[in-house]
């Protein structure tokens, strides 16, 4: 195996960087995290001509090397640290042909770090449409690089790009600008104090709060040979640097690019006239949301029913085929039931991520940010909070990470605190099964009652988020500067490959991430439910037979009585009955109590837990839903899951903070346990009170 070339993909957001990454690596990619922080790290492998191989890193999108967020710091830290194992042999800067001028800013900065750099001009298929023509050889000469014209949409130019990467040794590493031009006296002094370092590198170390090797901010500040500047002066110099860079870019483009405005067509204006309209814009947004919920509910039903019954038969088949014994029972009742509880949600989660990634890819999400900013600000949030709140419908963890681009700390903190109220995909399993049990069938204006209930639950979650944001904003005393800027990218037809890869990746991480927890808990629960201490459990058969001796029960009825007596006196039954007094006023029995307690690991455990508890001791092939429907309220009689207890459960799950992973992420993003603990206590207390009121009113 030859040496792998390290390639870093860098570029502004919305330049199709991820499309280029996908085109280069295909399915040979993996998504992880940078050590210690939650910034997503995407890497992949790409085969190059002449038997070479490239290790490709897709760095977070950044407008410049002046970092203003954690994501952007990752880019600088990598580019400044030659000892990093991922330090690029070659940087590939991705630009969008329609925004070349702005996209070139970060390019000139990377060139000034003296890293060999290739320039990719992406979306080149739109040049004719936009009346743009480029003088490539002039641009290559002036920018001291090689240019690859690429269209990921038309699948053009990728081979040329691979070729350029494989010839990275011939690339120039000459800088574009002379850093001394920014402030001659200052930089001459810096050069004298550190003669062996690149000036632009030193400048970044001074202005950015990142680590790199031996020379850091402090050693520069402590060097007596060199006088440092105040923060204000540094900012003024950064501004001057930006102006210098744009002057350079303007000069290069004056000859290298011509735009014939007459032949340019603009779809953006026509679409924006409707999509950002004061009335139509909001109406369309609402209709899109409605469609998403209808889809999640209705379209996903067929594959879900199929999965549900498939797992029930699998469990039955295991029991009948394998030799009877504890292991077979564990497999059939613990493992398979637990797994079924995860797999069944794949269709819905895939649908949800499909919609979210289409909205992101098309450029529509920015329009939503624009439309909602003013309204959200009234509640102490930002227009950018809409994206976390919407992606919170998938999962609060990526949603909380998505708050990073909110510039104002108070707005960001409030968004982090209220995002767990939005209905995440883990609540969906709980909602779906309870809705199907307690909400009647039927349709209203073509929408089923059940779908409408689900929509209502989403609205309640959103309302709770916004309402608590309003209160937090009122009570939190925190001064921070209001600032907001959002790019409005061009509308694009989402690329099938990008959407498919996102859906695949996110669904996979749900199944394997949540799946592990669910499976482990299912197995533990099975043990706790299958064994118990003392006479009551071990001699259940005799006790029950004696108790019902006079009633002349059939063997089948007797078996059922024995099973439920055993469950009640198993370890789990003891725990469950201990907490029962606390949850009885909410309309739950101890089995639901167990499910709620185990839900604090992750909400989606609820259904799996009930499935495990109910399947212990039952021999027939029945689906989870049928088992739940057959449960009888031990005190009042009638079905356990009726309208009152159902609504009460729905509301409890809507408001309670029941996700350890979310708490961990909140701790990481806010850097203190104070905020996650605050969420855990207030949200759960609120959930309890609301569920209590609902049950007492409805019963």
């Amino acid at each position: 195996m030859g040496k792998q070339i390290n390639v870093a993909l860098i570029g502004n957001p919305n330049t199709g960087k991820t499309s280029v990454f996908n085109a280069l690596t295909g399915l040979n990619q993996k998504v992880g995290n940078y050590p210690g922080i939650t910034v997503e790290k995407k890497e992949g492998v790409c085969k190059l001509p002449r038997g070479l191989k490239a290790h490709i890193i897709d760095l977070p999108g950044t407008y410049s090397l002046n970092a203003s967020s954690l994501d952007e710091s990752v880019v600088i830290e990598l580019l400044l640290n030659k000892n990093d194992k991922d330090y690029p042999d070659v940087a590939v800067v991705i630009t969008d042909v329609e925004n070349l001028k702005r996209n070139l800013l970060v390019y000139t900065q990377i060139k000034d770090l003296e890293i060999p750099t290739i320039l990719v001009v992406n979306m080149s298929d739109r040049m004719a449409y936009k009346g743009i023509s480029l003088d490539i050889s002039h641009l290559e000469e002036q920018l001291k690089t090689k240019i690859a014209l690429v269209s990921t949409r038309k699948n053009k130019g990728i081979d040329n790009l691979k070729n350029l990467i494989s010839n990275y040794k011939t690339l120039s590493s000459e800088p574009c600008l002379d850093t001394r031009d920014i402030d001659t006296a200052y930089f001459e002094g810096l050069k004298k104090a550190f003669p062996n370092q690149s000036l632009y590198k030193l400048w970044l170390v001074i202005t950015q709060d990142v680590n790199f090797g031996k020379v850091d901010r402090k050693t520069i500040a402590d060097t007596s040979a060199f006088k440092t500047k105040s923060e204000t002066d540094l900012k003024r110099l950064q501004q001057k640097e930006t102006i210098k860079r744009y002057q350079f870019i303007n000069n290069v483009l004056k000859k290298g690019q011509s735009i014939d405005l007459k032949s340019a067509k603009d779809l953006r204006i026509k679409l924006d006239r409707v999509l950002t309209h004061k009335v139509w814009g909001y109406l369309i947004f609402f209709i899109i949301l409605l469609t998403i919920f209808q889809a999640i509910y209705d379209w996903a039903e067929v594959p879900m029913d199929f999965i549900d019954s498939a797992f029930a038969s699998l469990s039955e088949w295991t029991k009948n085929t394998l030799p009877a014994g504890a292991f077979t029972n564990l497999l059939a009742e613990g493992v398979i039931s637990g797994l079924g509880g995860i797999v069944i949600f794949i269709p819905q989660i895939a649908f949800l991520f499909l919609f979210i990634s289409v909205l992101e890819e098309s450029g529509y999400m920015s329009r939503v940010v624009f439309l909602m900013d003013r309204i959200m600000r009234r509640f102490g949030l930002s227009g950018k909070s809409v994206v976390p709140l919407i992606s919170g419908t998938a999962c609060a963890i990526p949603a909380i990470m998505a708050t990073r681009n909110i510039e104002n700390w108070k707005e960001r903190l409030i968004t982090i605190l209220v995002t767990p109220f939005t209905t995440c995909s883990a609540r969906l399993p709980v909602y779906l099964i309870i809705i199907s049990l307690v909400i009647p069938q039927g349709r209203f204006l073509g929408l089923s009652y059940q779908a409408l209930t689900l929509m209502l639950l989403y609205l309640i979650g959103f309302g709770a988020a916004v309402g608590s944001a309003y209160l937090l904003n009122k009570f939190m005393k925190m001064k921070s500067k209001s600032f907001f800027v959002v790019e409005m990218p061009n509308y694009k037809l989402p690329l099938f490959k990008n959407v498919a890869l996102t859906v695949l990746e996110k669904t996979k991480s749900f199944v394997f991430g949540a799946g592990k927890i669910i499976l482990a808990i299912s197995i533990v629960l099975w043990f706790l439910a299958s064994y118990g201490p003392g006479e009551e459990f071990n001699n259940a058969e005799e006790i029950v037979t004696e108790q019902y001796a006079s009633q002349n029960l059939s063997q089948e009825e007797l078996d059922q009585k024995v099973a439920s007596h055993k469950l009640e006196h198993s370890f789990i039954g003891i725990v469950g009955r201990a907490i029962e007094p606390a949850i009885r006023p909410l309309g739950y029995d101890w089995k639901i109590g167990i499910a709620i307690v185990s839900s604090f690991a992750a909400r989606e455990v609820f259904v799996g837990t009930l499935a495990t508890i109910y399947s212990v001791g039952s021999d027939e092939e029945v689906t989870i839903k049928n088992r739940m429907a057959a449960e009888v309220n031990p005190i009042l009689g009638g079905p356990l899951f009726n309208l009152a207890s159902g609504i009460s459960l729905l509301l409890f799950y809507a408001f309670a903070m029941q996700c350890m992973s979310t708490l961990a992420i909140v701790k990481r993003e806010t850097n203190t346990w104070k905020w996650p603990m605050f969420q855990l206590v207030t949200m759960t207390a609120f959930a309890y009170i609301v569920a209590l009121i609902a049950y007492q009113l409805l019963k």
Binding site: K235, F370, D373, R374, F483, F484
Partner: protein
């Protein structure tokens, strides 16, 4: 006049940007003296403002726009 006073469809040239109140990021996105600016669309209460600055489309809040001085070039 300031950018906040621009009407929908009007165009102008940026004259001065108050460096104290405007973050570097906005400058890096092209909000620099000498560049052309057009107000593309406004949300209700004309806030935020959807601008085309030098070919870059972005939205900023009205408050930020008051720190950017411009000169109009058309009367929309």
């Amino acid at each position: 006049m300031t950018l906040a006073e621009l009407k929908r469809g009007q165009q102008g040239i940026i004259k001065d940007v108050s460096s104290k109140s405007i973050p570097l990021k906005l400058l890096e996105m092209g909000c620099l003296p000498g560049n052309a600016v057009e107000l593309v669309q406004v949300a209700p209460f004309s806030d935020p403002m959807y601008l085309n600055i030098n070919g870059t489309h972005l939205a900023i809040r009205k408050e930020t726009a008051t720190h950017i001085l411009i000169e109009t070039t058309t009367n929309g």
